[in-house]
C-alpha cells in the first residue's frame, strides 16, 4: 500500500496509478531485491529496461560520462531479449507490486511485431507497452524511428495493430516538432505519449583526442536537460488530448510539480535516482503539500494549471 493519500491516485493513459511518479526505463534494476531501502515508496509504476527481440550485449567501450549536472550514456540497449524477459525477469519484476510498463525497442517493424507477440504470451500482467522510438544509442533503429513523421507513423500503427493492451509512445526530443509528433502518435492510436528520452550529445577525451564513446554520440539526461524537457512537455501538452507523461531531468520534487503544472499527467524519473533513491517519495510529499496549499483535492487538478 502506498503511504500516500488518495489525492495522488490518477489514471494515466489507461493505467491506474497510486502516484503519478514512474521509474523511467533503463536506470533502475528490474529486480526489486536490488532496490535501496525506501526507494519503492511513492513509485506509481516502473518501466522495464528497453527490450529487444533478441538479446543484446549493448555497446562496447565507455558507457557513461558525467557532464555538468548531467550524464551522457551509451548503453546501447543491453538486454537479455524479450523471451528471457517473459520467462525469467518479469516475475521478479512483478514483485515490486507496481504496474509494469514494458519498454521496447526495435530495428525493423517485423522485430517490433514479433516482440509484441512474445509479450502477449506473458501470463503476468503488463500494464502498458512503452514504444521506444527515441533511443539515440543504437546505430540501427532507435531514434531514427522517432525523428521522421512517416517512420513514427508506421511504427505506432504497427504496434497498435499488434498490441491490444495500453500503448504509450516515448518520443524523441530530437524530433523537429515535439507537438506534431505527439499528435501523430495520438492519431495512430497511442493512449499516451512520454516526452521524452535523452538528448543527443557527445563528449571528447582531450588527452586521447577522440570521442569518449565508440558511437561518438550519446544520450544526455539528468538535471541539465530539465528546462528543455519542460518546454517539450509544454509543447506536447498543447498539441494533444491524450495524456502526456513528462520525462527528462526531474531532479528535485519541485521539478515534478513544474512538469505537471506544464501539462504532464504523470512523470518519469531516471538519472536523478542515481543520486537520490527517495526522490519518488519526496515528489509525492511535494505534490501533497502543494495540493493542500492551493486547496485542491487531486493531482489531476494540477495538470496543466500553469497554462491557464
Amino acid at each position: 500500500m502506498s503511504p500516500f493519500g488518495t489525492s495522488l491516485r490518477t489514471e494515466v493513459g489507461g493505467v491506474d496509478l497510486d502516484t503519478p511518479v514512474i521509474v523511467a526505463s533503463g536506470v533502475w534494476p528490474m529486480d526489486p531485491a536490488l532496490w535501496p531501502e525506501g526507494s519503492l515508496d511513492g513509485v506509481g509504476a516502473v518501466c522495464s529496461k528497453g527490450l529487444t527481440l533478441k538479446p543484446r550485449d549493448g555497446n562496447p567501450g565507455c558507457r557513461i560520462v558525467e557532464t555538468y549536472s548531467g550524464v551522457l550514456n551509451s548503453i546501447g540497449l543491453q538486454n537479455s531479449g524479450v523471451d528471457h524477459f517473459v520467462a525469467q525477469e518479469l516475475s521478479a519484476f512483478s514483485f515490486a507490486g507496481r504496474p509494469i510498463i514494458v519498454n521496447i525497442a526495435f530495428e525493423t517493424l517485423d522485430d517490433l511485431v514479433e516482440t509484441v507477440e512474445v509479450l502477449k504470451g506473458s501470463a503476468l500482467k503488463i500494464s502498458a507497452l512503452e514504444l521506444n522510438v527515441s533511443c539515440p544509442n543504437v546505430t540501427r533503429g532507435g531514434m531514427t524511428w522517432g525523428i521522421h513523421p512517416e517512420s513514427l507513423e508506421s511504427a505506432v500503427t504497427a504496434a497498435r495493430r499488434a498490441w491490444n493492451g495500453i500503448l504509450w509512445v516515448k518520443l524523441s526530443p530530437q524530433a523537429p516538432s515535439v507537438g506534431e509528433f505527439a499528435e501523430l502518435s495520438q492519431g495512430c492510436g497511442a493512449e499516451a505519449v512520454v516526452v521524452g528520452n535523452t538528448w543527443l550529445g557527445m563528449a571528447i577525451d582531450n588527452e586521447r583526442e577522440r570521442p569518449f564513446f565508440e558511437n561518438v554520440f550519446a544520450g544526455l539526461s539528468g538535471p541539465a536537460v530539465f528546462p528543455l524537457a519542460l518546454r517539450a512537455v509544454w509543447e506536447a501538452a498543447g498539441a494533444v488530448e491524450i495524456p502526456v507523461i513528462g520525462c527528462g531531468g526531474i531532479s528535485r520534487p519541485q521539478d515534478a510539480l513544474s512538469m505537471i503544472l506544464a501539462g504532464a499527467s504523470a512523470v518519469e524519473v531516471g538519472t536523478a535516482l542515481f543520486v537520490d533513491s527517495r526522490l519518488p517519495a519526496s515528489i509525492c510529499r511535494e505534490l501533497e503539500r502543494h495540493l493542500r496549499e492551493k486547496g485542491l483535492s487531486s493531482v489531476g487538478d494540477l495538470v496543466g494549471r500553469a497554462r491557464r
Partner: protein, 265 residues
C-alpha cells in the same frame, strides 16, 4: 548469476557529515564520515557512492571502498584523479555528503588460513578493513606497489595501518624495485588465497598465481558507474560467462570469471 562472493548488505542512501579530511601526501586523502543513520555493515571490497549533498555538479557519486565501517561511521582513502575527487578533497569538516551503500559483493571470508593481498597504489583501500577484520584468524601478507618517490607519505600511512606491508616501487626508491605482482608470485602457493585490487593490467597478471598452485584468486574491478545497484548497465563488462555488472555482480570477482581460464605452461 550469483557469483558466490561476499554477501552484500542491502544498500541505502544516507546523509553524512565530514568528520575529518587529512592529506596523505600530495594527492591522496583519508576522510571520515559520520552518517545520520546506520547502514548495513560493509564487507571489505564493498563500496559506497560518495558525493556532496544537494548539488548536481559534479553529479554522480564516486565509488570508494570503505576502509573502515562502523555503525554510523565510514572511512575512505582516495586519490584525487579528476573533478569529483578533487571536489571531495576540497571539503572541510562539517560538509554535508550523500552516500549510497554498501554496494556490491565484497571479498568473502577466506577459506584457507593464508591470505595474500596485492594492491596497486589506492588498490590498498578495500584491504585496510580486511586486515583488521580478519585479525588473528588468518595469516595475512600484504603487498603494495607504488610508482616511486613522492609516494612516501602514502606508503608510510599504509605501513602504519598494515605493519609489515611489503613495498614495491617501479624505480626502487621505495621498498623493493619491481612490481607487486612479481613480488607476490614469490609468495603464493597451494593453500594460499590471493586477493588483488589495482589497475586491470596488474589484476590480469595475477592469473599467473594459478601456475604456482594458488587455487583462489579474487580481484576487485573498477568501472565508471551510474546507479551503483545494477540498474543502469553503465558498468557492464564482457566476461566468458556473459555480461556482468561490476557494481552488483562484483566489484569482487573470481579471476576466472573475468579473465577466463588462466594459461598454464
Amino acid at each position: 548469476m550469483d557469483s558466490g562472493m561476499g554477501k552484500p548488505g542491502s544498500p541505502a542512501d544516507r546523509k553524512g557529515s565530514l568528520v575529518f579530511s587529512r592529506k596523505v601526501g600530495e594527492n591522496c586523502r583519508h576522510i571520515a564520515v559520520e552518517l545520520s543513520e546506520a547502514t548495513a555493515p560493509s564487507a571489505p571490497g564493498q563500496f559506497f557512492l560518495v558525493r556532496e549533498w544537494g548539488v548536481f555538479d559534479p553529479l554522480l557519486g564516486r565509488p570508494l571502498a570503505s576502509t573502515v565501517s562502523g555503525n554510523c561511521r565510514l572511512e575512505f582513502l582516495f586519490q584525487v584523479t579528476g573533478r569529483g575527487t578533487s571536489r571531495l578533497a576540497s571539503l572541510t569538516p562539517g560538509a554535508a555528503l550523500e552516500l549510497r551503500g554498501p554496494c556490491g559483493n565484497g571479498f568473502p571470508a577466506p577459506v584457507g588460513e593464508k591470505l595474500l593481498l596485492v594492491a596497486g597504489t589506492l588498490g590498498i583501500a578495500p584491504f585496510l578493513g580486511a586486515v583488521s577484520a580478519l585479525g588473528e584468524k588468518v595469516d595475512v601478507t600484504a603487498v603494495l606497489g607504488v610508482p616511486g618517490r613522492g609516494w612516501e607519505p602514502f606508503t608510510e600511512w599504509c605501513e602504519d595501518k598494515i605493519p609489515g606491508i611489503r613495498l614495491n616501487s617501479d624505480d626502487g626508491s621505495l621498498g623493493r624495485r619491481g612490481d607487486p605482482v612479481e613480488d607476490s608470485l614469490t609468495l603464493v602457493g597451494p593453500g594460499r588465497e590471493l586477493w588483488g585490487c589495482g589497475p586491470e593490467a596488474m589484476l590480469r597478471e595475477l592469473g599467473r598465481a594459478y601456475e604456482k598452485g594458488c587455487e583462489k584468486v579474487l580481484v576487485s574491478l573498477e568501472r565508471r558507474m551510474g546507479c551503483g545497484i545494477g540498474g543502469c548497465l553503465s558498468c557492464s563488462i564482457t566476461t566468458p560467462s556473459g555480461m556482468k555488472r561490476v557494481c552488483v555482480d562484483g566489484p569482487v570477482f573470481d579471476w576466472r570469471e573475468v579473465f577466463g581460464e588462466p594459461l598454464r605452461n
